[in-house]
């Protein structure tokens, strides 16, 4: 091999600027567009909601549905929305975390794959099918249980009887929602559990941790931000879910009881009333939509805050 003895003479040109490659420019431009686009869409939706909702706030309270102003119209809907979502989360979260841990740390590999696939399939079922399932299959079967709750735990306000004879109650809607958000929470938790560094798992095992202790010591703390994100996505879906609730729930006025007919959620109310609405009623429904938008935003900001509160302990540094 020959080596050049004399390096080529240096050219007396000013230091060349880094050349902007077309690929870089296209990529940077397209990501920026995508980022801006999402903000534009969000701002557009917010602007639409605010403008269309405005007449409701300016109108005479007596003209609003119910005759006592917008606030007394919307708060039972807010209560119903939150109640359905909370029931769904209470049921789905432990179940989803259990399934995710089983898939990531307990199940034999083959079974884990199959199970993960089945859970993902749950997310592919349209909500109208869940609604049908809720009415036709679930409601008659849980009716007895709700009646039992009303008979035996009726002193707790949320179980006050008499229980609905059809089983189409808030609690049933919550169960249906739980099944719907289960795959979201499971899929995200499973992914973060699988990401736990082997190093941390081995650290726990080498200290003499059993498998469950290792999970509590290394896997769950590491996955905590991911778990919270999963729950928040699930909550978002539960708050906004329309069809299943509209079909399953036998709606009515406000009641504390989750086992009788009554209550409604914002999304279901909009879906049920919008086709028949006109004039101020339309504006009122849109205003209710604005409230739902605000609730969802608040929930997401709260979740961000929870995650960032212990940022230095997150393991990302």
């Amino acid at each position: 091999m020959t080596t050049t003895a004399n390096p080529p003479p240096r050219q007396a040109t000013p230091a060349p600027r880094a050349k902007a490659r077309p690929g870089d420019r296209i990529f940077s431009w397209s990501t920026r567009t995508a980022g801006v686009l999402i903000l534009v869409v969000l701002a557009g939706v917010a602007a639409f909601l605010i403008v269309e909702a405005l007449p409701t706030f300016q109108a005479d309270p007596a003209e609003i549905d119910g005759g006592e102003g917008f606030f007394s119209y919307v708060w039972p809907l807010v209560f119903g929305t939150l109640a359905a979502a909370v029931i769904a989360l209470i049921i789905a979260t432990p179940l989803a975390l259990g399934i995710a841990l089983f898939i990531s740390h307990y199940a034999p590999r083959r079974m884990a794959q199959g199970l993960g696939y089945v859970v993902d399939l749950l997310a592919a079922i349209p909500s109208v099918v869940y609604g049908l399932w809720g009415i036709q299959w679930l409601a008659p079967r849980v009716q007895g249980a709700w009646a039992w709750l009303a008979d035996n735990l009726g002193f707790i306000p949320i179980f006050t009887g008499p229980a609905s004879a059809t089983g189409r109650t808030m609690l049933t809607a919550g169960v249906v929602l739980a099944v719907m958000i289960l795959p979201i929470i499971t899929a995200i938790s499973r992914e973060v559990f699988l990401q736990t560094p082997t190093l941390h798992e081995e650290a726990a095992l080498a200290l003499g941790a059993t498998r469950w202790e290792m999970i509590r010591m290394a896997v769950i703390p590491f996955g905590r931000p991911g778990i919270i994100s999963g729950i928040m996505l699930g909550l978002g879906r539960a708050l906004g879910e329309t069809m299943a609730v509209a079909m399953v729930l036998s709606t009515g006025g406000f009641t504390w009881s989750m086992v009788t007919s009554g209550n409604n959620t914002i999304a279901a109310e909009i879906a049920l009333d919008f086709p028949e609405s006109s004039g101020l009623k339309t504006n009122t429904l849109i205003a209710a939509g604005l409230v739902l938008f605000a609730i969802t935003l608040a929930v997401n900001m709260f979740a961000r805050w929870v995650v960032s509160r212990r940022k230095e302990f997150s393991g990302a540094n």
């Binding site: 650290a203 726990a204 703390p221 997150s314």
Partner: protein, 259 residues
Amino acid sequence: MSKRIDVGDLNVYYGSFLAVEGVSMAIEARSVTAFIGPSGCGKSTFIRTLNRMHEVIPGARVEGKVMLDGEDLYAANVDPVTVRRQVGMVFQRPNPFPTMSIRDNVLAGMKLNSKRMRKAEADDVVEQSLKGANLWNEVKDRLDKPGSGLSGGQQQRLCIARAIAVQPEVLLMDEPCSALDPISTLAIEDLIGELKQNYTIVIVTHNMQQAARVSDRTAFFNIAGTGKPGKLIEMDDTTKIFTNPSVKATEDYVSGRFG
């Protein structure tokens, strides 16, 4: 505290692959034993069989005996969890729990034993362990800060503090300095010298000067070729291994002629 280990004709398999073959050795209590040898010769695999950590890898199993002061670690009624509480381990890369404070990291092993400790007692364990790992003066004012905020060398000493907090009989170290700078390495080596007064220490290292500096006895592992099992070539006093080994391959390796 501190027990001796006797290994009798140990084979380690990954599935059907024989990774380490026919190792027999005696590791004295309150001494430092170093394992040296080229990459892939089974040192790390072998050291993990001393606290059954190899079982974490699917398909890994052993044949043969490992006796901790006469008790077989692989007897049918022995729980690997109890083995690991007696035989602590420090890993190649520092691995403090990122979600825990320095204090909680040290106490992690104690909490597993599910003992309810009074705060004063816990404080005492934290201080003693961190002092034992020569880390106390550097972190005593920030015990509630995350362990992942320390430097690499400090993190490794934190891991040592965590391991000795539960007062194990034996401390295994799998290349504890390979991710550290020379100053931190020196700190850990000094620490090993102090720890051997109370613990039986086994250390895997790629750094032969390190083996010569810290260990009393040295075991040389080698491998005949890719796909062949690793074997213990010879084990002797460290001075003898580095000056006048009985096997030619050992001499070639320690004098830098291969590997």
